[in-house]
Symmetry: C2
Subunit: 165 residues, 2 copies
């Protein structure tokens, strides 16, 4: 049950002193079918509804070559999220877990990440499946799925470094 | 070849107007063997060197339960990166690709993401393999790998929504 400070039984928050170490720029918006937090999937699915990633015109050319990737990693800003929780009770039953042991939207830097299937490109809009966020969520970044990406630049020393256990 | 504005042949930048849509808080530091950008791996490897993720004391309790996950998703701030590039030439040969078709550190919001193998926990430090970033990189977030995580909270309507092509 929520207490006066909005915490459920067992949950704990730190004293939040603000955030000013680095600054983000929104590069577009995400359109999904979900307008209420309670309807958003806990995890996106690749056979889920079509969603639209609308990229700001200034970044249009940054999409060049993106059609080579069937799957993309998408980063977005969960702008309705509380940021000060260290212990959370996902079932509201008094049992808690640490924030870093959860994929809850409530975290010190509420950055959501999803792997989406790219279905179609319409100018600066990507049509995808696999998102889980609210309609209108600000977009932060798009990258090729790490498992599909082969770096075009020559390898570095670090690429060969291995270490036995 | 780099021009006066630091661009390689074929590369293009936008006029950067700053970033102030949202603010980040650093929650720790990452220690790796790489002190120069040219040595960092292009992609981390799970048999790579041991690295340390040092979490600030304020977030210590947020680690509770993290030992249940063999792999973690780590987000960090690539604080040396140029942010205004839309077209990049990874081989410096005039051939370019859009920023969102690359996993280059140079992007409007230079957030690096890696999937790491959790080797050991020492108080508020995680010992891991699979990172690719410079020593001293600011830490933004840690979450269970999406493929290992089962949400403890009850499913939502969205979890069941599918849509035929």
């Amino acid at each position: 049950m929520a207490q006066d400070d909005g915490l459920r039984d067992g949950e704990r928050a730190i004293k939040w002193c603000g955030a000013s170490d680095a600054r983000l720029v929104y590069i577009g918006r995400i359109r999904t079918p979900w307008t209420s937090r309670k309807d958003c999937p806990r995890q996106g699915r690749h056979d889920g509804p079509l969603c639209r990633i609308e990229i700001d015109e200034a970044w249009a050319d940054a999409l060049e070559g993106i059609d080579a990737y069937e799957r993309l990693e998408v980063l977005y800003w969960l702008d309705h999220s509380r940021r000060d929780l260290v212990l959370q009770s996902p079932r509201d039953d008094g049992a808690t877990r640490g924030t870093f042991a959860l994929r809850s939207p409530m975290r010190p830097n509420p950055i959501g990440t999803s792997i989406v299937r790219l279905v179609e490109i319409e100018k600066t809009t990507l049509i995808v499946r696999g998102l889980d966020c609210l309609d209108g969520t600000p977009l932060l970044d798009i990258k090729p799925d790490r498992t599909l990406f082969i770096p075009p630049a020559p390898p570095t020393r670090g690429d060969y470094e291995i270490e036995n256990p």
